[in-house]
C-alpha cells in the first residue's frame, strides 16, 4: 500500500489552502499532517424489539494504531445512537453538532427525537460540504414510529436497511450478516450476530481491531455495552520486567548567560511610600 500523507488528488477550482504558509512549512522540512482515520468496522441491525449497533475500537494514523480503545458509538439522543467511520475529527464533530441540534429541537417541540430528524440534519450537512466532511455513519434508534436503521455516506446519500455495515471492515462484517441474518432475531441472538460481524472485521481487516462495543436500543430503554468483548489480550508480558538505567548521556555542557549578572545588595535604599 502506498504511503501518502494527504490522499486528495488535485481538483480544479480555487484552492483555499494557506499556500504561502504550506510552501514555507514544506521548505523547512515540515511534512503535511495526515488525517487520523478510524479504519473501522461498524454495523447495525434491526431485531424484534429494536436496534443493535456495534463497532470495533481501533483508531489508526496510517499504519500505526494511535488509539487501541476509542469509542465509535456516539450519543445523539436518549433513543438514538450513531456509529462513525472515516476521519475521526469529522465523525465526532458532526455527531456532536447534530446531537446538540436535536436537544434544542426537543426543548422546542416537547417531544422525543425521531431518527429521521437526525438523518435529515446529518445528510443535509454532509451534502452541503460535498464529501469533504469524511464521515460515514450508521444511525440507529427507536422512536414513536418504531425501530429505524440508516447508513449515511460522506457525500450525503442515505439508505434505510434492516442490517448495515460501514468502514474498511464492512465487507468482512457484511459477509457474516448476509449469511446469518434473518428477521425477528431475539436480543441475545442479535447481540451474538453483531459481535460475530465485528470480530470478523477485527480479525480480517487490518484497519479494525481491539475490542467490540455494542449498543442495544429498545422502546424506552438503551444499553450501552462498552467493551462487550475483549478478544485481543496482550500475548506476552515478560516476567522479569525491564529496567531503564541509562540516563540521557551528557555530551557537552555550555552555559550562556542571557543577561548580565545582577547582584542584590542587602539593606539598600528603601522605597518611598
Amino acid at each position: 500500500m502506498s504511503q501518502v500523507a494527504v490522499e486528495a488528488p488535485p481538483k480544479g477550482g480555487f484552492s483555499f489552502d494557506l499556500c504561502r504558509r504550506n510552501g514555507m512549512l514544506s521548505k523547512n522540512g515540515v511534512p503535511p499532517p495526515s488525517y487520523r482515520k478510524t479504519g473501522t468496522t461498524i454495523v447495525g441491525l434491526i431485531f424484534q424489539d429494536g436496534v443493535i449497533l456495534g463497532a470495533d475500537t481501533r483508531a489508526t494514523e496510517g499504519p500505526i494504531v494511535c488509539d487501541k480503545n476509542c469509542e465509535k458509538i456516539h450519543y445523539m439522543a436518549p433513543n438514538i445512537y450513531c456509529c462513525g467511520a472515516g476521519t475521526a475529527a469529522d465523525t465526532e464533530a458532526v455527531t456532536d453538532m447534530v446531537s446538540s441540534q436535536l436537544q434544542l429541537h426537543r426543548y422546542h417541540t416537547g417531544r422525543e427525537s425521531r431518527v429521521v430528524t437526525a438523518l435529515t440534519l446529518l445528510k443535509s450537512h454532509l451534502f452541503k460540504y460535498q464529501g469533504h466532511v469524511q464521515a460515514a455513519l450508521v444511525l440507529g434508534g427507536v422512536d414513536a414510529n418504531g425501530p429505524h436503521l440508516h447508513t449515511i455516506y460522506p457525500h450525503g446519500s442515505t439508505d434505510t436497511l434492516p442490517f448495515a455495515t460501514m468502514g474498511s471492515g464492512s465487507l468482512a462484517a457484511m459477509s457474516v450478516f448476509e449469511s446469518k441474518y434473518r428477521e425477528g432475531l431475539t436480543k441475545e441472538e442479535g447481540i451474538k450476530l453483531v459481535c460475530e460481524a465485528i470480530c470478523s472485521g477485527i480479525f480480517n481487516d487490518l484497519g479494525s481491531g481491539s475490542n467490540v462495543d455494542v449498543c442495544v436500543i429498545t422502546k424506552g430503554q438503551k444499553e450501552y455495552l462498552r467493551n462487550h468483548q475483549l478478544p485481543n489480550p496482550r500475548t506476552y508480558v515478560s516476567s522479569k520486567g525491564f529496567s531503564f538505567p541509562k540516563k540521557t548521556e551528557v555530551l557537552l555542557t555550555r552555559i550562556t548567560p542571557l543577561k548580565e549578572m545582577v547582584e542584590v545588595i542587602e539593606g539598600g535604599d528603601t522605597m518611598e511610600e
Binding site: M1, S2, P10, G39, R58, T60, P63, I64, V65, K68, S168, I202, F203, N204, D205, L206, G207, S208, G209, S210, P231, N232, R234, T235, Y236, V237, S238, K240, F242, F244, K246, E249, L251
Partner: protein
C-alpha cells in the same frame, strides 16, 4: 490539466517486521509470520526467515516476491561456492555476497529489507543490516520492516553501548544471555504488534549457536 501519472507499480509491500540480535556465542533472528496487502491479510503463516548457509540466516520484510527471487539467487550462488571451495560460506562472506547482489539491481531494486544473522568464523554472533540497494554494516542488533520504527528505539535503549564519544568503543555484541535475548525479542514483538497493523499473528524465532539451529514459535495478536 495536470500530467497523467503512471498508476501501475511493479512493487507491493507485504508488511511485517524482522529483528536480529548478536550475542557472545549465539545469534537470535526473529520475524512475524503475517503477509498482507493493503488492508487485507493474505496469510497468517508465512515464514520470512531463510537459512542461506549453516551459519548464516536471513530475515527479510518488504515485497515477498522480490524476497523469494533474492533467496533463490543467493542459494544458487552458495551452491556454486560450495562446489568450488568445498566448504560452506561464512557469515561475513554471505553478507558481502548479499550486498553485491542487491547493488547489482541498483536501478530496479529488490524491494527487500534484510537483516542477516549468524556466527562468524570465531563463533561469535554477528548481525548485518541492509537497505534495499545493498548498503550494509555489521552491528550488534537491528530491526527492519513496518514495525522497525517501533522496535529499534527500544532495542537502542536496552542494548546500545554508551556513545563512543564518551567511552572507548565497546564490543558490538550484547552481554545478555541467550534466554534473556529471546525474552527481549518476544516482548519487542508483542509491543510492536499492539501498535503496527502489519505486524502480528505469529512470531518465528531462530537461534543459531554452537549446537546448531533451533526454531520456536509464539502466538501474537491476530487483529
Amino acid at each position: 490539466m495536470t500530467k497523467q501519472q503512471a498508476n501501475w507499480s511493479p512493487y507491493d509491500n507485504n508488511g511485517g517486521s524482522c529483528v536480529a540480535i548478536a550475542g557472545a556465542d549465539y545469534c537470535v533472528i526473529a520475524a512475524d509470520t503475517r503477509m498482507s496487502s493493503g488492508y487485507n491479510i493474505l496469510t497468517r503463516e508465512y515464514s520470512k526467515i531463510c537459512k542461506l548457509a549453516d551459519k548464516a540466516v536471513m530475515a527479510s520484510s518488504g515485497f515477498q516476491a522480490d524476497v523469494n527471487a533474492l533467496q533463490k539467487h543467493l542459494a544458487a550462488r552458495h551452491l556454486t561456492y560450495q562446489h568450488q571451495h568445498n566448504k560452506q560460506m561464512s557469515c561475513p562472506a554471505m553478507a558481502q555476497l548479499l550486498s553485491n547482489t542487491l547493488y547489482y539491481k541498483r536501478f530496479f531494486p529488490y524491494y527487500a529489507f534484510n537483516v542477516l544473522g549468524g556466527l562468524d568464523s570465531e563463533g561469535k554472533g554477528c548481525v548485518f543490516t541492509y537497505d534495499a540497494v545493498g548498503s550494509y554494516e555489521r552491528v550488534g542488533y537491528s530491526s527492519q520492516g513496518s514495525g522497525s520504527t517501533l522496535i529499534m528505539p527500544f532495542l537502542d535503549n536496552q542494548l546500545k553501548s554508551p556513545s563512543p564519544l564518551l567511552l572507548p568503543a565497546q564490543d558490538a555484541v550484547t552481554p545478555l544471555s541467550e534466554s534473556e535475548a529471546v525474552d527481549l525479542v518476544k516482548t519487542v514483538f508483542a509491543s510492536a504488534t499492539e501498535r503496527d497493523i502489519y505486524t502480528g499473528d505469529k512470531l518465528e524465532i531462530v537461534v543459531l549457536n554452537a549446537g546448531g539451529i533451533h526454531r520456536e514459535y509464539m502466538e501474537l495478536r491476530k487483529d
